[in-house]
């Protein structure tokens, strides 16, 4: 990846085991589905991403085939993992890179990152530079915890206090860059049992939303207070879909440590049935398109003023707008080359570069499904 490559950053924020890695895997799969036939591909941009995601998919397939869904085919993240994806229109240098950071969940607790402060600092910087923050939320923990003595464990297990702290820092950073779009998406996962739109019988989505509102109130408030312009989405996601919660227990070990264990079984045809991941892709595409419009704005003075400021900003920034600017410039370059050379190859290249915009526009224009709401 050259330094000239556009790389949009997405931060993932949540405790270990919440479902971050699964969410990235689902996003790549869903993007591939949405882009099929468009001439644009979503690909893993480096070997590490390719092999790791393949491995996750295989482990998941294995679980599904065996009919038994073992919570544990995916091991915990030990060190920060950078997932590198790319939207590739098939023209050299014209692709858009998307980078996601998945770090050990424990690191969001300050006392658990002693000795790795340097690496945490890199993670923190990445998150600060991310225009998008994805916060997976463990729906099964929210819904299956009812006893008082267990409810008091929720902040520890969901790490809401730490998530709030990191989200606040992110929001403060976003507010310093008012021209840039900012999106935080709360994604309840492991919630197959609470919706009836994807193979489930009961619809308990209202209760799930209530529980979320109660437990994550502080996090939402922090973002709203620090970055009033940020888009805040509630977007429940099924990364697997064809599983169902059969049992969930809080247990205490002999040494007095609490644990939460949820057992799932495969339902129906044992075929992955993602839900809501396309909504996430739409939200991400909207960010890109918004930035692009701003950068290339000609329509109104207002926008032009903004765009000018953005351009200025891009000069000295290494954030969102620098990448948008590179993107716009590459497109201009392709137009110029096509106009100057008149040959088939140049026109073909321009055509493909424009296909990338077209497909992003299309995805961005999709309406959110009924699960999604703005907070």
């Amino acid at each position: 990846m050259t330094t000239d490559q556009v790389a949009f950053k997405i931060g993932l924020l949540g405790p270990s085991r919440v479902g971050k890695t699964s969410l990235v895997t689902a996003m790549l799969s869903e993007a591939q589905r949405m882009l099929a036939g468009s001439g644009v591909a979503m690909v893993a941009a480096d070997t590490a991403t390719e092999v790791v995601i393949d491995g996750n998919r295989e482990a998941l397939q294995g679980d599904l085939l065996s009919g038994e869904f073992l919570h544990g085919s995916l091991l915990g993240t030990v060190e920060p993992t950078y997932f590198k994806l790319a939207l590739d229109p098939g023209v050299p240098d014209a692709r858009i890179d998307i980078e996601l950071l998945d770090f050990p969940g424990g690191w969001i607790k300050p006392k658990d990152r002693v000795g790795v402060e340097d690496q945490w600092e890199k993670c923190r910087k990445f998150i600060a530079a991310s225009t998008i923050l994805l916060v997976p939320v463990d729906a099964s923990l929210l819904m299956e915890t009812t006893e008082k003595e267990h409810l008091r464990l929720l902040p520890q297990f969901l790490t809401t206090v730490q998530v709030e702290q990191v989200a606040r820092d992110w929001a403060i950073e976003r507010n310093r860059r008012p021209e840039e779009p900012a999106l935080v998406a709360f994604c309840p996962v492991k919630g197959e049992a609470y919706f009836n739109d994807n193979g489930g019988i009961k619809n308990r989505s209202v209760l799930l939303r209530q529980r979320f509102d109660t437990v994550y109130a502080g996090v939402v408030q922090a973002v709203r207070a620090e970055a009033p312009k940020a888009t805040i989405l509630y977007a429940p996601v099924d990364t697997i879909g064809c599983v169902e919660l059969v049992r969930a227990d809080w247990t205490k070990s002999s040494t007095g440590i609490w644990g939460f264990d949820a057992k799932y079984r495969v339902r129906g045809k044992a075929e992955i049935s993602r839900m809501g991941v396309d909504d996430l892709m739409t939200a991400i595409a909207q960010q890109l398109i918004y930035g692009k419009r701003l950068a290339g704005a000609q329509e109104s003075d207002d926008l032009r003023a903004l765009a000018n400021r953005a351009a200025e900003y891009a000069e000295r920034s290494e954030g969102f707008f620098r990448d948008i600017w590179l993107w716009v410039n590459r497109e201009r370059q392709a137009r110029r080359t096509a106009a100057a050379q008149h040959d088939r190859e140049a026109r073909e290249a321009l055509h493909r570069v424009l296909a990338l915009d077209a497909v992003l526009e299309k995805i961005a224009a999709q309406r959110f499904g009924p699960r999604v709401s703005r907070l």
Binding site: M1, T2, T3, D4, Q5, A7, K9, S16, R17, D46, T47, A48, V51, V52, D54, G55, E58, H71, G72, L74, L75, G76, T77, V78, E79, T81, Y82, D97, E99, P104, G105, G106, W107, K109, K111, D112, R113, V114, G115, V116, Q119, F126, A129, Q156, F157, S253, T255, I257, W258, G259, F260, D261, E318, G319, R322, D323
Partner: protein, 353 residues
């Protein structure tokens, strides 16, 4: 010898017990598209004067508070003689035995491995939880080291099967085979023995590699000057058949044309240190300036810096230390009586990507 143990507890996430190595040098291989240090792997590096080892993937019986299986990593590094550390034969023997057991675990992932069994024996959940909770703490670091040493010291537990080591001279000094191939594994082990005994080179399990002609393998071979024992281990690969020689590293001749072997080693004297430090600072400033000018969110390769720094220190001086930054290239001093290949010492080790 330094021993670091990393695992997670019931509540507390993965971390090194008591004391964290200064640099996570092993993660460089992931960045280079060679191996995933979060999968079962063995990474052995030797610059002739010292060695360091990263082992990951043995799976504990312990479970976290969400019933997820827990894994171990062990990082070993030879001591620094200038600090008064001495690696005796016993330490090398210990490292060798541990790597052998680890290889057995990695190549037969089904079922419980001896390594995991032994580690669990000396590391009950309550102990691990307690050590992890104490944060940075020399005492728990020492206790963890002691536990690891105990788990693998000879004469303990049930007797081990004899280690299968290829006794004949390896057919190649630089080669790639397959993790599933017994002969390749035996040769790998023979190389490990030599690396511990002072040959310069690397023995690596590569989880991202599936064939000898993978471009990353050629890149690696071009960047490394010492021995290379590589085992392809990518999921779903068609096993590599036999052992494939990799491009020979050219012996690097100094400008005056003399063979390096005939030169006397010039240990990095105190007088040269400031010079080297100055050069490194200049490089650093340059790199930072360049980063600021061209800066983007893309992870910018660090090794450009550290590799350059290595070049300046010149031939027979550097030594692997547990604190070296990722990407730094070890070199072997020619004065080492165990050295017997001319290509081991070179300024071009800095060609790391």
């Amino acid at each position: 010898m330094h021993v670091h143990l990393r695992t997670r507890g019931t509540d507390i996430d993965y971390r090194f017990i008591g004391d964290t190595p200064k640099a996570f040098w092993w993660s460089e291989y992931k960045r280079r598209g060679l191996t995933d240090h979060e999968k079962p792997v063995i990474v052995v590096e030797s610059d002739g004067a010292g060695w360091r080892i990263y082992l990951h993937g043995a799976e504990s019986r312990r479970r976290d508070n969400r019933t997820t299986p827990i894994t171990f990593s062990i990082v070993l590094a030879s001591g620094a003689p200038e600090h008064g550390d001495r690696d005796d034969a016993a330490d090398r023997e210990f490292a060798f035995r541990l790597i052998n057991l680890w290889l057995e675990a990695v190549s037969e992932p089904s079922g419980r491995s001896t390594v995991a069994e032994r580690l669990d024996e000396v590391l009950p959940a309550i102990t691990v939880d307690h050590w992890l909770a104490s944060g940075v703490d020399p005492e728990s670091a020492r206790a963890a080291e002691k536990a690891v040493r105990m788990a693998f010291s000879s004469g303990l537990s049930e007797p081990e099967p004899p280690i299968a080591v290829s006794t004949s001279e390896p057919p190649y000094r630089r080669w790639l085979g397959d993790l599933s191939d017994e002969k390749s594994r035996e040769t790998f082990v023979a190389h490990v023995r030599e690396l511990l005994d002072g040959r310069q080179g690397k023995a690596l399990i590569l989880t991202f590699v599936q064939a000898p002609d993978d471009p990353v393998v050629a890149d690696l071979a071009a960047a490394e000057t010492g021995d290379l024992a590589l085992l392809a281990a990518r999921r779903g690969r068609t096993p590599v058949e036999g052992m494939h020689p990799l491009g020979k590293a050219e012996p690097v001749l100094p400008a005056d044309g003399k063979d390096l072997r005939s030169r006397r080693p010039r240990p990095m004297g105190r007088k040269r240190l400031p010079l080297v430090a100055l050069a490194v600072v200049i490089l650093l400033v340059g790199l930072i300036a360049w980063l600021m000018l061209t800066g983007t969110g893309n992870a910018t390769p660090l090794p450009a810096l550290s590799a350059a720094a290595t070049t300046i220190t010149s031939c027979p001086t550097s030594k692997i230390s547990p604190d070296m930054t990722p990407g730094e290239q070890p070199e072997r001093p020619t004065s080492d009586p165990r050295a017997h290949r001319p290509w081991s010492c070179s300024a071009s080790t800095a060609a790391a990507r």
